[in-house]
């Protein structure tokens, strides 16, 4: 077992270095970075301009914290979108390009284990994503001027964005290894991303319309956008659109933030994606490792299951499925309550988790 893990690490580094020197190097990578940063800054400027314009009639803008949070939230959601666009673009060629440029055979003729190749390539994609995220930190720190966000908000969201990027990178790489053609892998990944963003909201809204009630938030667990906006505190959680963004049904007792469930779900999905990618990286005649792969998958899922059992309580799960409850939202930490919209503090037994 140790030997296998060691071999994975031995493979990780060479492939990572190779990808950094090859695919990730050069004008294109920095072009993407520049465009993304330009996009982020102009987007933030736009949001700020809108906030300033609405200040004449929206009383909430009187709160500096509200401005800080709005800027932060909109930028983070925009960044999530950007990541969902960039990550498939970066990861779709990971394996298929080896086939297309006819370097595949020589790569798999080396002693690198297939899983190591996959993880190394994923590492390269994620380091690029990390670079991108770190480059946005300066903007984010500008928002601190307005208040309303904390360092821990920023760190949590960035970590969550990395996890989202990792999941989508893993799935895209699975397509790349399976389809062996970059274009097909890109197309399939974007179709998936679109469905992934659209379906949870569609389900959420449809459920609400059909039941004529506030829908339960389990619909929103898969959505990366909901996960991100549930990862930091906001001042006005009661609007329906906030609920959509945030994955919090207004009025529901939601103890556990949505993104905890999202992370768990993504971990469950990313694992078979990585193992499946490794399976298809192995040369066609040499895929007898299937049983070992299934065992690894079972082991990984088992571990995740145990983690889920230990860290999530039954009421956490119930919180996913309840629609409307009479109690007001409790888990939201109100840092600077504007006068009109502050929810009345009710003496519901406080639960602090995580």
């Amino acid at each position: 077992m140790r030997g296998r893990v060691g071999a994975l690490l031995d493979a990780f580094l060479p492939v990572l270095v190779k990808e950094m020197r090859g695919r990730m190097r050069g004008a294109r990578a920095f072009g993407i970075l520049t465009v993304a940063l330009l996009g982020f800054s102009s987007f933030s400027a736009l949001v700020y301009a809108i906030l300033v314009n609405t200040s004449t009639w929206d009383p909430r803008t009187a709160s500096s914290a509200y401005i800080g949070q709005s800027l932060f939230r909109s930028l983070m959601l925009f960044e999530t979108f950007t990541l969902l666009l960039i990550v498939p673009g970066l990861a779709a060629g990971a394996i298929s390009q080896e086939h297309e440029s006819r370097t595949y055979e020589m790569l798999v003729a080396t002693p690198l284990p297939a899983a190591g190749i996959v993880l190394g390539k994923m590492g390269a994609t994620l380091s690029y994503v990390l670079l991108l995220l770190i480059a946005t930190v300066p903007f984010t720190s500008l928002f601190f001027v307005f208040g309303g966000i904390t360092i821990s908000d920023v760190v949590t969201v960035l970590a969550l964005l990395m996890a989202i990027a990792a999941t989508f990178a893993a799935i895209t790489m699975f397509f790349s290894a399976l389809l062996k053609r970059t274009v097909r892998a890109v197309v399939l990944s974007y179709v998936l991303v679109a469905a992934w963003i659209g379906l949870p909201f569609f389900g959420f809204i449809a459920h609400g319309i059909l039941r004529n009630d506030v829908p339960p938030r389990f619909w929103l667990v898969p959505s990366p956008l909901s996960a991100v906006s549930s990862a930091f505190s906001v001042l006005s959680p009661e609007s329906f659109f906030t609920a959509i963004g945030q994955g919090v049904a207004p009025g529901a007792v939601t103890m556990r933030p949505t993104w905890h469930f999202t992370l768990l779900l993504y971990a469950f999905l990313a694992l078979p994606a990585v193992i499946g990618a490794a399976h298809f990286v192995r040369p066609a005649g040499r895929r007898r490792a299937l049983r070992r792969e299934l065992a690894a998958l079972a082991l990984g899922w088992g571990l995740l299951f145990v983690v889920a059992l230990v860290t999530f309580r039954p009421e956490d799960w119930r919180g996913l499925f309840v629609a409307r409850q009479p109690q007001p939202v409790q888990h939201l930490e109100i840092r600077e309550a504007p006068v009109e919209v502050a929810p009345p503090p009710t003496p519901v037994p406080e639960r602090t988790d995580d």
């Binding site: 031995d10 493979a11 580094l13 060479p14 270095v17 190779k18 020197r21 090859g22 695919r23 190097r25 050069g26 440029s101 006819r102 370097t103 055979e105 020589m106 798999v108 003729a109 080396t110 002693p111 690198l112 040369p283 066609a284 005649g285 040499r286 007898r288």
Partner: protein, 316 residues
């Protein structure tokens, strides 16, 4: 003499198509083996199985005494494999390309640096060290690829048509390079359908057609086999009168496969299937029956000719 590569009843089927059929190869350590066959004969399939990239449908492969069928990962360390069609990582520098493969084989940083420089020197690319691979010519890429199979100093090299697509000059250079490698006591398998190159280079050759090994051995042995024996040239004194008698003696003689009636001048040519003792007996037979023999020689055939006969001209 130890054996580097041994296969037993090696067979690969793709659905109904039998790409390689009951291949028995024995290649001694340190020899250069030419693997010859027309397009689609199964050369690449065989080499990929030897490199551990493709599972045989049936049969056994042993590399340096290690069963690859049971332990496919062993092939990774024993073999350097150069595919017939390959690409190179265009967006890397030449030294980085080799450095990557050296890392794959877990060479220490110092060793890596040394090996990369030595190999660049060996394949004459030292002056291109810091260039991007995309700027290399075809021949340079081929040499770079050859260098990459050497990073882990494998005892066995499997080179699938290493000279394809090269101009004559680059071919000669590639051949010199391979000779150089042969001197390093490596076991080398080279596949090709360009025979003139292999005849000079190889210690032994194997001829494969439609997945079957039709002949194997030294170039001379295979040549004899190819003709169903060897071609013997006999010069006769006063041929115009003695020739019919000679033909009459030869035709029914055991081991004579074919007599060329249309041989010119004072020469009679025939194909003889038998060893030197039998050949000496044949000469005695002619002489004792008063055929005036001036000279008597068995000639070597060239491999190209042989190949065309073996494959019934199926090569384009």
């Amino acid at each position: 003499m130890s054996v580097a590569i041994r296969t037993r009843q090696l067979t690969k089927r793709f659905g109904k198509l039998v790409a390689v059929s009951d291949l028995d190869l024995t290649i001694p350590t340190g020899s250069i083996f030419g693997f010859i066959g027309p397009n689609g004969a199964g050369k690449t399939t065989t080499l990929r199985m030897l490199a551990g990239l493709l599972d045989p449908t049936e049969g056994e492969i042993e590399l340096a005494g290690e069963s690859i069928t049971r332990n496919p990962d062993a092939a990774r360390w024993l073999v350097g494999y150069m595919p017939d069609f390959f690409g190179v990582y265009e967006d890397m520098k030449v030294w980085e390309y080799l450095d990557f493969f050296a890392r794959c084989y877990r060479l220490s940083p110092q060793r890596r640096r040394r090996v990369v420089n030595e190999l660049l020197e060996l394949v004459d690319l030292a002056h291109k060290r810091d260039d991007f691979v995309e700027h290399l010519s075809r021949g340079m890429r081929q040499r770079l690829c050859l260098a990459h199979v050497l990073v882990h100093d494998p005892p066995i090299l499997l080179l699938d048509e290493p000279a394809s697509g090269l101009d004559p000059r680059a071919r000669v250079e590639m051949r010199e390079l391979l000779k150089e490698l042969g001197k390093l006591k490596k076991t080398i398998v080279i596949s090709s359908h360009i025979l003139s190159e292999l005849a000079e280079l190889c210690d032994t050759v194997g001829i494969i057609e439609k997945g079957r090994l039709v002949a194997a051995g030294t170039v001379e042995e295979v040549a004899a086999l190819a003709r169903g024996g060897r071609v013997v040239r006999v010069r006769l004194l006063d041929a115009s009168t003695t020739r019919p008698a000679a033909l009459q003696l030869l035709k029914p003689y055991q081991g004579v496969v074919e007599v060329f009636e249309d041989s010119e001048g004072d020469v009679v040519e025939f194909v003889f299937d038998g060893d030197d003792v039998a050949l000496a007996a044949l000469l005695r037979h002619l002489v004792t029956h008063n055929v005036p023999v001036i000279s008597f020689s068995s000639e070597h055939t060239d491999l190209e000719d042989l190949f065309l006969r073996l494959t019934k001209g199926e090569v384009q």
